[in-house]
Amino acid sequence: MDSLGDATVQALTLLLRGDGELWEIIGISFRVSLSAMSIAIPVALLVAFLLAHLEFRGRRLLISLFNTLLSLPAVVIGLTVYLLLSRQGPLGDWRLLFTQSAMVLAQVMLAFPILVAMGHAAFQAADQRAWETARTLGISSPQAFIMVVGEVRFGLLAAMLAAFGRIIAEVGASMMVGGNILHHTRNIPTAIALETSMGNFAQGIALGIVLLIIAFILNLSLQYFQGRGKLSV
């Protein structure tokens, strides 16, 4: 227990002292995950909306597929992206393996089903009358879509926070396609795994504290937005 206590004190010292390497790792984590979110969100929300509002053959199958992908382990996604980007893979010419772009791609694939499944649930919970009223008010389809998004914004924010929480903390895919290269692709979870295996508990715990703080802020935001959503119904 003493070593845990010492490591925690050292971790807090590292964080508060502004350790350059530590903050660089945190920066890479945020850059990669926020890039992945900005790519995944617009497409995923449009897919979620279409699944909720359009009747077409195979719709139920697609919904089941996205719900199934929710439980896909990150390492499987990592393996898939690895095989796609490896030299012999179909996207090998892009030479993206062991870059932040590869990590972004893997995290997009991780976030996408969460955004679609939770976004679909939010759009389905939305009143069908919202879309119809917007259309009969002469509002164009893109504007009506934005208005419906506005009506279910709390549910969609919850989906975004859940997806961000998942990708910023995942280790399997980032490790496989990023390679955990210092100053390039080392992010918070891969650094924790490495430092712990090397016995550098202080750095591992410091990064763990950062992850915990992020998780706490996300959950707090989630509670806040869900509360706001209920109030506005």
């Binding site: 009143d127 009358r129 919202a130 119809e132 009223t133 917007a134 259309r135 009969t136 008010l137 002469g138 509002i139 208005m147 506005g150 009506e151 506005s232 119904v233």
Partner: protein
């Protein structure tokens, strides 16, 4: 009353659970005329209104926007769905108001390109028209059913919809709210809007309507006189808003 037919629908077909819900029916709507759509529960009144408004896909339907004019030709519903949604306004049984106050909800009925000064002026006029001045800053979700209906009618007024379809517009309303709603509908009708009202509550609309259509076994049958139960007193002619006590006295 009439000023020529504004829109004509023909060969309207719709199946529901293998049942022929709407069986090749035809109907026309004309500006300044009010039609009551009657029929038993499940007869297909709401489905018919939604098809007419371009919101629900029929098995088959032809639409003519300029019936009687030279060269006018009915077009398949699927080819003019967007046009129907723009030209025909449908009000749900429980009108939907967007998150925000009454002013925001009224503003949605105006073109976005309208200058702010004109927009504000029109909204003020709409608030006055529907007697909503006192509620202009109230959040939409806090309004009563009758108040929501008035906001949605004010939106129809702002949009200057030529054709307005209403699904049970006075259901679950007290007599005063019913009278206010009918009063606004009368003003829309006087402004040459074509009204079609699906309702079981014939007595409320007795003085407003020009014809009554009964939807029965997928067909529309025109009734010569509106169906008014013997034991129900219609609202007073003119339909000025009445107090609850006045409504009780009339009963």
């Amino acid at each position: 009353m009439s000023g020529g037919i504004d829109i004509r629908y023909s060969e309207v077909d719709k199946f529901f659970n293998r049942r022929h819900l709407l069986d090749g029916l035809s109907l026309s709507l004309e500006g300044g005329a009010a039609t009551l759509l009657s029929g038993e529960n499940g007869a297909g009144k709401t489905t018919l209104l939604r098809i007419l408004a371009g919101l629900e896909k029929p098995a088959h339907c032809l639409v003519d926007f300029t019936p009687g004019e030279a060269g006018s030709k009915p077009r398949p519903w699927s080819n003019c769905r967007k046009q129907l949604q723009r030209r025909v306004m449908y009000l749900h049984q429980q009108p939907y108001l967007f998150d925000g106050n009454v002013i925001r909800n009224l503003a949605l009925a105006l073109p976005r390109t309208l200058p702010k000064a004109q927009r504000d002026k029109k909204i003020r006029q709409a608030l006055e028209w529907a007697q909503l001045e006192a509620l202009q800053d109230a959040h939409a979700k806090t309004l009563s059913g009758g108040e929501k209906q008035r906001v949605s009618l004010a939106r129809a007024w702002l949009r200057q919809s030529r054709i307005l379809l209403l699904d049970e517009p006075v259901a679950n309303m007290d007599r005063e709210s019913q009278a206010r709603t009918v009063s606004l509908l009368r003003r829309l009708k006087n402004a040459r809007t074509a009204l079609m009202i699906a309702s079981h509550n014939h007595a409320v609309f007795y003085q407003l309507i020009d014809r009554c259509l009964i939807l029965e076994r997928g067909k529309l049958i025109e009734s010569q006189a509106p169906l008014l139960p013997d034991n129900v007193t219609p609202l007073a002619k003119g339909n000025a808003p009445q107090s609850e006590s006045a409504g009780n006295a009339a009963r």
